[in-house]
Subunit: 385 residues, 2 copies
Amino acid sequence: MSRVGVIGVGHGRFGRRSDATVQELAFEAFRAALQDAGIERKELDASIIAAVPEYHKQRSVAGVVQEYLNLNPLPTWLTEAACAAGSAAVRTAWMAIKSGLHQVVAVIGCQKMTELATADILALMGRVGEVQWESVFGTTFPGYYAMFATRHMHDYGTTHDQLLQVAVKNHHYGAQNPNALFQKEVTLEKAREGEPVASPFCVYDCCANADGAACVILASEDRARALSKKTVWLDGLGCATASMSVLRRPHLTGLPSAVGAVQQAYRMAGVTAKDIKVADVHDCFTIAEIMAYEDLGFCEKGQGGRYIEEKRSYIGGGGVAINVDGGLKAKGHPIGTTGVSMTYEVVKQLRGECGPRQVPDADIGLTHNVGGIGQYCFVHVYKRD
Amino acid sequence: MSRVGVIGVGHGRFGRRSDATVQELAFEAFRAALQDAGIERKELDASIIAAVPEYHKQRSVAGVVQEYLNLNPLPTWLTEAACAAGSAAVRTAWMAIKSGLHQVVAVIGCQKMTELATADILALMGRVGEVQWESVFGTTFPGYYAMFATRHMHDYGTTHDQLLQVAVKNHHYGAQNPNALFQKEVTLEKAREGEPVASPFCVYDCCANADGAACVILASEDRARALSKKTVWLDGLGCATASMSVLRRPHLTGLPSAVGAVQQAYRMAGVTAKDIKVADVHDCFTIAEIMAYEDLGFCEKGQGGRYIEEKRSYIGGGGVAINVDGGLKAKGHPIGTTGVSMTYEVVKQLRGECGPRQVPDADIGLTHNVGGIGQYCFVHVYKRD
């Protein structure tokens, strides 16, 4: 079976990017990825664009990006799976190559989040939950995850301090990531004083909206071996869904979609949770990272709070090094871009290029990208040669 | 090379569907497609959803559809390429199967267009053109195509009567299609009296917004042969893009993306324009169908007006039978659904199931689905056994 690999990655700065349109953000990341791959535009066969378009003034995002990147007349279209749009695009590119239709495909996550007023963003995000039966009663995005947190605390004794320790870790690493929105440390004491958002969450439990773009270039095994000496292989893919209505979920202390997706990805890649050295997981809220520890099999169910309290998800902590780029919490969360940004980080880690944030002996890595409130989850397993 | 085929199709009624949510529309089409295929839900591996989400109150459309169709935990995500979203989904499903990742995939186009006020819809549609340099000057969707029409008239002597004859034909066939929004004939005399929209267009030059859904089920050759005796094969795929800014187009009398896409699709399927017996083409405005005749090679450049005037695109007219389901013009245009609806019609024609609208000896058919103002075009070629 021939493989599909990542031959180049690029990443722009996340933040309030009023200096750039969505196509200009895309170009920053795209140019960096081409340079990283050491290839020219003419090697590409197609692009897949990840974005959640309703946050943009500009619609038909794939079209405007394709033109600005001078990629006409190559094929392009957009994928969307709420906050997992980026991973849906990586999966689509993998399929495009594996199907034989294309050989080299650029995946570009590009998202503006700050063109709308905050209240409008919150209203849009609430509609990522079920509109007919749930959001009419006032559910918000933080409110959904706050319910998950409350139930996790109730069932497993997880504490708010444990939740906040996720934020402390991710800000610690974000402070070392020049692309992150927040590049400063946060102490547990400081985090405890955060303004309340949705009980039990304060602001330090919540990731921040940000503009930003990232790009990864995938190639068939033949083309990858011809073009690159540092290919990282995408060997395991998983995608699963769960009911959007939380009232139909079997429980609220984890994401059934994540459990399903990771089982597929591990099986396809021939690995288990024990083989993973580094992972970028979807920490839109602190509880989401704790649930990910458990859903991905890095610890037993209910032990996620202890896992972070014991600093096992730090580099050298004895567990899997998680979100050592700062995660959504410190990098910011340009929703269409996030899955591509995760891929960028894991590829850089597997290539040993992360400097002070490098995870030792990182040979197998994973991305875990959740859409909405867990109605989608995409898990990808990467290996170096 | 193994093939990928369509084993089942379903189509709901297009129109102002205030009786149904987007997931209910999806279910109508999905249930019909399962029944048509003679399979149960458990045969499916995944779904791909086509929609343009910003017209909906409900976001995360793929998630809500997947739940309502009882397809959790199967993978799903959404594709968007403006009005070509449906064909992007068919292409994605083809790739999913051909890559070996999935065997049987449901493609569901589902679109609400009437939840928003007409003025808001027009504003959103204007943003499908280039926002930074064009739509700020007041370009609208009809305005773009009116420019194409004006130039076509100038360069080739195309007349407004010829444009309106496209509408006359499509309403003629729409009157025989129980799923169409408009099921009545329109005479040329009546069409000439239409209210002006954007010179030279009157209302009869323009398709209408509609809600609606369609579903097609694709399968690998192995699974198709096991499950179905009436598979129609998707043997040629083409996708190309052009600049979104019309100011950067080489000309305004056709779509470079359509020319690029059809060349790919003909080559891949091993056919030429002469082999096509039936086609569904993207007649969002009357000029768009005339440009399609030319871009797809059904007639010489500039002869599109004459092609319809001579009724060559009618059944038995001596040319390719085009939009004999009524096209966007008479069926209505639920933008994310349209590409799937086109696929439905071509499959039904190739199976010989179109009753009074049946094209004789329809063995090879084509869909031509344009996104936005031609920044995307997808062409698919279908064959029966």
